[in-house]
């Protein structure tokens, strides 16, 4: 509530200031600030939250500007309707630019967005019969109030109003599950998919939001000037929009405001000397990257925080009374939870999976063991949808898993943790675990954007469930800590909490005890037993034999991609093939005999 009040107050102050300024030059600067704030707000979602480096936003600006130009001149539509439609056109273009971006990574993504921007720039320059080229389009209808075109002052007020509205709407969106989902894309796409975030859908959404705001900005500029030509659409504009977000503070809600105000004022100051203006922009970009990775917003936040010192908090004891949120399971308890037949996978010369068959029983703790390179992680990756098997039939709760994507598998009730830990390190413990609840929450885009009561209720319910999970694991005191700052053992626990938050029927754990000392390993064992009591089935890949033998109901042994043994822990331990697989071919028979005798009491 405080934030909303502050925003409204700021907007009111700006509007009041505009009322007293009569000089057109200064009003124009205020208007430009609003325009760039609109661009930056959307770009912040795409770059700051979703982490997609788009270098072609000028193209979306053009879509809005030329859209409104053509709609009001060639099609003779009313100005307000044209504005609305042009914004829609820009949003559609956002889908266009998102589509190829989904498939490419790294420099190729930058390339595709850059190419898009250039294509649009060339299009509006070359296709002069439609777009007017360098001559541009004249007589664009300006917005009107009571039949008269808006005065400069009214344009500024409209700008401030739109910025305020956009800011509040985006704030609703970004502080809830959508914001968290975007951040997870930036942090780790694989982990995001594993907790139920549909990576493709959210990337497209981020692109569309950025396109809509840039398009709106472009349309407003065209209508205010009543003129548009290709000089407006340049690579420099795309870079400027990027800089607005980077300099202001990517990923922060105040960032776009800070960036838009400072950079527009700076631009206005230096406008007379164009090469200096560009130089300063380049220098600011480098400066922001070196010295202010979190932008102005980060600097200000750092100043505020340096006053208070926070002592690192310790984990609490797990609450034995806490209950995990689970989904109802009305199937017969004797029916197998998961069956796998003939699962095979090969990469070139390596075959990490050869015709593996497995059956997981409800309510059991299953362990998957084997020497390094046996194919254990590959099997987990196949079950969780990260790797497509070449062959095999896997059924989970009688549903064939086939070619389903990882986030859909999570939706069916399979959760996992990762061998090399894939936490969203920059997010708090609570946000990490809340992301586990992402797919279980029902509030859609519109409800979240408008901050409807239904959306708030979902968020509150999810938080309650997360609190319960944190209590279960003894992490309640650490809810607000940054996940990446915790000691290793606790980070593993947070990843476990996140997986449990997806309310799984089956929990796949890839080496959960890796890097833990004996005490931590014993605690983990206790935790897993309690999770089983809550009705969750577990499949555990592990090297820590003590842990495996102590808690497992059933052990499967892999070697060179094949299953070589399975049974109870005692049966597997006594199996000669298992010993040979681990310790190697016996060099001296007497030594081997001594070894086996030494183990007996």
């Amino acid at each position: 509530m405080r934030h909303v009040l502050l925003a409204v107050l700021l907007a009111a102050a700006a509007a009041l200031a505009a009322a007293f300024v009569t000089n057109d030059f200064y009003l124009r600067i205020l208007f430009n600030i609003c325009i760039y704030l609109l661009c930056a707000s959307g770009m912040n979602v795409l770059l700051g939250f979703a982490g997609q480096k788009s270098l072609g936003q000028a193209g979306l600006f053009a879509a809005g500007a030329y859209g409104v130009a053509l709609l009001t001149t060639s099609w003779d539509l009313g100005p307000w309707l044209a504005l609305l439609l042009a914004t829609g056109i820009a949003a559609a273009c956002g889908v266009l630019i998102a589509a190829p971006s989904l498939r490419v990574r790294g420099p190729s993504l930058a390339m595709v967005t850059l190419a898009f921007g250039i294509v649009v720039e060339k299009l509006v320059t070359e296709a002069s019969d439609i777009f007017g080229g360098a001559m541009g389009i004249y007589a664009i209808k300006p917005l009107t109030l009571n039949g008269d075109p808006l005065t400069m002052q009214q344009w500024v007020w409209l700008g401030i109003l739109l910025c305020l509205g956009l800011h509040l709407l985006l704030r609703n969106l970004l502080t809830g599950r959508f914001g968290r989902a975007f951040l997870s894309l930036q942090a780790d796409e694989i982990a995001a998919a594993a907790v139920g975030v549909s990576v493709h859908r959210y990337k497209v959404l981020a692109f569309v939001i950025a396109a809509t705001t840039c398009g709106l900005a472009g349309a407003l500029v065209a209508q205010q000037n009543q003129y548009i030509n290709s000089d407006f659409i340049t690579f420099n504009l795309s870079i400027f929009i990027l800089l607005l977000v980077l300099f202001g503070g990517a990923g922060s809600l105040a960032g776009p405001v800070l960036g838009a105000v400072t950079l527009t004022l700076l631009s206005a100051l230096l406008a007379r000397w164009s090469w200096i203006e560009h130089f300063v922009q380049g220098a600011l970009l480098l400066f922001a990257l070196y010295a202010m990775p979190k932008g102005l917003a980060g600097v200000l936040a750092g100043l505020r925080r340096s006053g208070t010192s926070t002592a690192p908090r310790k984990a609490a004891e797990p609450d034995l009374q806490a209950r995990l949120p689970t989904r109802p399971d009305d199937a017969s308890p004797v029916a197998p939870l998961l069956t796998a037949q003939g699962v095979s996978k090969s990469y070139g010369g390596v075959r990490p999976a050869r015709d593996i068959a497995a059956l997981l029983t409800r309510g059991h703790i299953h362990a998957l063991i084997g020497p390094n390179g046996a194919g254990k992680s590959t099997f987990i990756n196949i079950l969780s949808g990260v790797v497509r098997p070449d062959d095999g039939d896997i059924r989970f709760r009688d549903t064939p898993l086939g070619r389903i994507s990882p986030h859909a598998i999570c939706g069916l009730g399979v959760a996992r943790t990762f061998q090399n830990l894939r936490l969203f390190r920059e997010l708090s413990v609570q946000d990490n675990v809340l992301l586990g609840q992402h797919a279980r929450m029902r509030n859609g885009f519109l409800a979240s954007l408008l901050g409807l009561p239904a959306s708030r209720r979902e968020e509150a319910a999810a938080r309650k469930r997360v609190t319960e999970i944190l209590r279960f694991l003894g992490l309640s005191e650490l809810a607000q800590q940054t996940a990446g700052s915790l000691p290793y053992g606790l980070q593993r626990r947070v990843e476990l909490a996140r997986a449990l938050a997806t309310e799984p029927y089956l929990l796949l754990l890839d080496e959960p005890a890796a890097g833990l000392n004996p005490q931590e390993t014993a605690e983990l064992g206790e935790l897993l037993l309690r999770i089983r009591e809550q009705g969750v089935t577990i499949l555990l890949v592990e090297h820590h034999m003590d842990l495996v033998m102590a808690i497992s109901d059933h052990v499967i042994v892999l070697d060179y991609g094949e299953k070589i043994a399975e049974g109870t822990p005692a049966q597997v331990q006594a199996d000669a093939r298992v010993t040979a697989a681990y310790l190697g071919v016996e060099e001296a028979p007497e030594a081997a005999l001594e070894l086996s005798l030494a183990g007996k009491p």
Binding site: M549, V578, Y582, G584, E586, A598, G599
Partner: protein
């Protein structure tokens, strides 16, 4: 007598992970020393930091009396330490001969001296001479392992580090590789070997250390540890 290699209370971490905690290892010249332990125990991490690929968060490494803790990896090769990395890592798009010649990079040899050095390796590994013009990626796993060892030997090291030479290889091939390790010891090359297959490593080692979750828990001669129940327990769990 100062040992050839002395690792003193080395701790190595990646971010919040402590992979190795206060490990101390001694290798005397002319010995074969083995480090065994379950997967994830920190063996490869320790070897990589001896080669200079990972920094120590605390502790020291001394080689032939010099403190090399801060020395970058490309200079340690010149100092006499060579590593055959985990998974072989031969340069796949270059020929067997090219791989070997790159191994001698630090020695800056004339072309005739380089030729002699390559010949020496072919004498030790005749299979490689047969395949010298082939791209390294076309070699079998065992041949790639031989190539990786030969490549490391090309830098004329006094200490050879071998990371999991048996990984992913068939039993017969593993036997061959370990026979080569014995040959190398016969030629006076000091070997520090990291292995998951404890029996094999302990069978060839003069001295050995057991690593469990980053800590050295046992040390002794190879023969002693071969019979020690804690070794088996370290892999298969205690109490059986």
């Amino acid at each position: 007598m100062t040992a050839m290699l002395e690792v003193s209370t080395a701790s190595i971490g990646y971010g919040p992970i402590r992979a190795v905690a206060e490990a101390s290892i001694r290798v005397e010249a002319g010995q074969v020393v083995a480090i065994v332990g379950a997967n994830g125990a920190g063996k490869t991490t320790l070897l990589k930091s001896i080669a200079g690929l990972l920094p120590l968060s605390s502790g020291h490494i001394h080689f032939e009396g010099r403190d090399i803790t801060a020395m970058p990896p490309h200079r340690r090769v010149g100092a006499g330490i060579a590593l055959s990395p985990e998974g072989r890592q031969v340069f796949p798009d270059q020929t067997v001969r090219d791989n070997l010649e790159l191994g001698a990079w630090s020695r800056n040899l004339s072309s005739s001296a380089l030729e002699d050095a390559v010949e020496e390796q072919f004498n030790l590994f005749p299979r490689l001479r047969e395949r010298q013009g082939q791209m390294a990626v076309t070699l079998s796993g065992g041949e790639q392992q031989m190539l990786a060892i030969a490549r490391a030997l090309m830098s004329a090291p006094r200490l050879l580090l071998l990371d999991e030479p048996s990984l992913g290889l068939a039993p017969l091939v593993i036997k061959e590789i370990f026979a080569i390790i014995r040959t190398l010891r016969g030629r006076g090359i000091t070997v520090l070997l990291v292995e998951q297959m404890a029996n094999l490593a302990l069978g060839v080692a003069d001295r050995a250390y057991v690593l469990e979750t980053g800590r050295v828990t046992l040390s002794g001669t190879g023969a002693e540890l071969l019979l020690h129940p804690q070794v088996r327990a370290a892999y298969l769990g205690a109490g059986h």
